[in-house]
Symmetry: C2
Subunit: 200 residues, 2 copies
C-alpha cells in the first residue's frame, strides 16, 4: 500500500473501523476486518493504535460526536425556541438512518464489557441531554416554554425518544417512525406547557 501521511492514515483507519462497525456491529469488529476494509495489512492498525478497544471507542466517539454537532448546527439555524425544538426532534429521528441508532444499541450493550466505551457513551449521552436542556432553559427564559425541572425534562424526553426508536430499529415495526414523531412531539408539548399541535 502507498505510504500515507500519518494523520490522514489514522483518519482513514478510524473511518474504516466505523464502517465495519456499522456493518457487523461493535462486538464483531476485528482488526483483520478493518485492515481488509482499508486494503492494508493488519499489522498497520497497531502501528497507529495501541489496542482494539481504543480504536472502537474512538470510532464510536467520532460518529456520535458528528451526529451531535450536526444536530447542534441544525438547531442553531433556527432562532425561535419552538423552531429550535422542532429541529432537535427532526435531527434526532432521521428516518433514513438506522445505522446511527444501531451503533448506540451496540454501545449501550457493550458498555458493561468495555470501560473506555462506557465512558464515551456516557459522556455523549450527557452531551445530548445538555443540548436539549439548554434549549429548554432558553425557551423558558424567553417565556415560550415552561418547566419546573429542565434537567429532568431533557432526560425524560430523550429517554422516551430512545425507548421508542429502539423498538423501530431492533424490532422492525412494533412502533412506526411516524408514531415516534407524533408521540415525542406530544410528550414535549405536555412537558413544556405548549399548546397541542405546536410542534409540526
Amino acid at each position: 500500500m502507498a505510504r500515507m501521511n500519518p494523520d490522514l492514515r489514522r483518519e482513514s483507519i478510524v473511518a474504516a473501523t466505523l464502517s465495519v462497525m456499522q456493518r457487523h456491529g461493535i462486538a464483531a469488529t476485528t482488526v483483520r476486518d478493518v485492515a481488509a476494509e482499508l486494503g492494508t495489512s493488519s499489522g498497520l492498525i497497531h502501528h497507529y493504535v495501541t489496542s482494539m478497544d481504543e480504536l472502537i471507542t474512538e470510532a464510536f466517539e467520532r460518529a456520535a460526536t458528528e451526529d451531535l454537532e450536526r444536530a447542534a448546527a441544525a438547531i442553531d439555524s433556527g432562532s425561535e425556541p419552538i423552531d429550535r425544538l422542532s429541529r432537535f426532534f427532526e435531527s434526532y429521528t432521521r428516518a433514513d438512518d438506522d445505522s446511527g441508532m444501531q451503533l448506540w444499541l451496540d454501545a449501550w450493550a457493550e458498555a458493561a464489557r468495555r470501560p473506555a466505551l462506557q465512558q464515551a457513551s456516557r459522556r455523549l449521552n450527557e452531551d445530548w441531554q445538555r443540548l436539549l436542556c439548554t434549549l429548554i432553559q432558553d425557551g423558558c427564559a424567553r417565556g415560550v416554554m415552561s418547566s419546573e425541572d429542565p434537567e429532568g425534562a431533557a432526560w425524560r424526553l430523550l429517554s422516551l425518544l430512545d425507548g421508542l426508536t429502539l423498538q423501530c430499529v431492533a424490532h422492525g415495526d412494533t412502533v412506526t417512525r411516524e408514531q415516534v414523531m407524533i408521540w415525542s412531539h406530544r410528550a414535549a408539548e405536555m412537558e413544556l406547557g405548549l399548546p397541542h399541535g405546536t410542534l409540526t
Copy 2:
C-alpha cells in the same frame, strides 16, 4: 457427573446458560462457561443442543418469559386497577435489577443481526406492552383511569421506562433508580388522567 434424566438435564443446561448470560452478557457466553457453571464437561452441552445460537436464544426466551410471568402474577395479586398499575412498575423496575436489563440491552443490539433472537425479543416486548395495555383498558372500563389510546399509552410508558432504565444500567448513574421510579410514575399519572401522587 451423575447421569441425569434427559429432560431435566436439558432444563439445567438452559438454566445454567441463563445465569452465565446474566453475569457476562450474551456476547460473552461460551460453551465452556456454561459447562463450568453446570459442573460438567463441555461436550455434554452439544449432546443436547445443536448450536450455541440456539441455546442462547432459548435461554433468553426463557428468562424474559419468566420475568413476564412473574410480573403478571404480581399484578394479579392486586384487585384495584391503580394498585395493579403500581405493582406493574414495581416488578418492571425490579426485573431491571441489573442483570435482567443487561440481557435486554444485548438482545436489542443483536436483534438486527440474529433473526431468531429478534423474533423472541420482539414477541416478548409486545407481550409486555399487551400486559400493560390490558391493565390500562381495565382501569378505563372501571372508570378509574382515562385514555384515548391505551395501545399507544402502553408503548409510551414502556419506552420511557426502557429509555430511563437503560441509562441506569449502561452508564451507572446518569439517571438514578429513584428518578426512574418517580418520573415513570408521574408520566403514568399524566397519561392516564390520575391525580398527582396517586402512585406510591
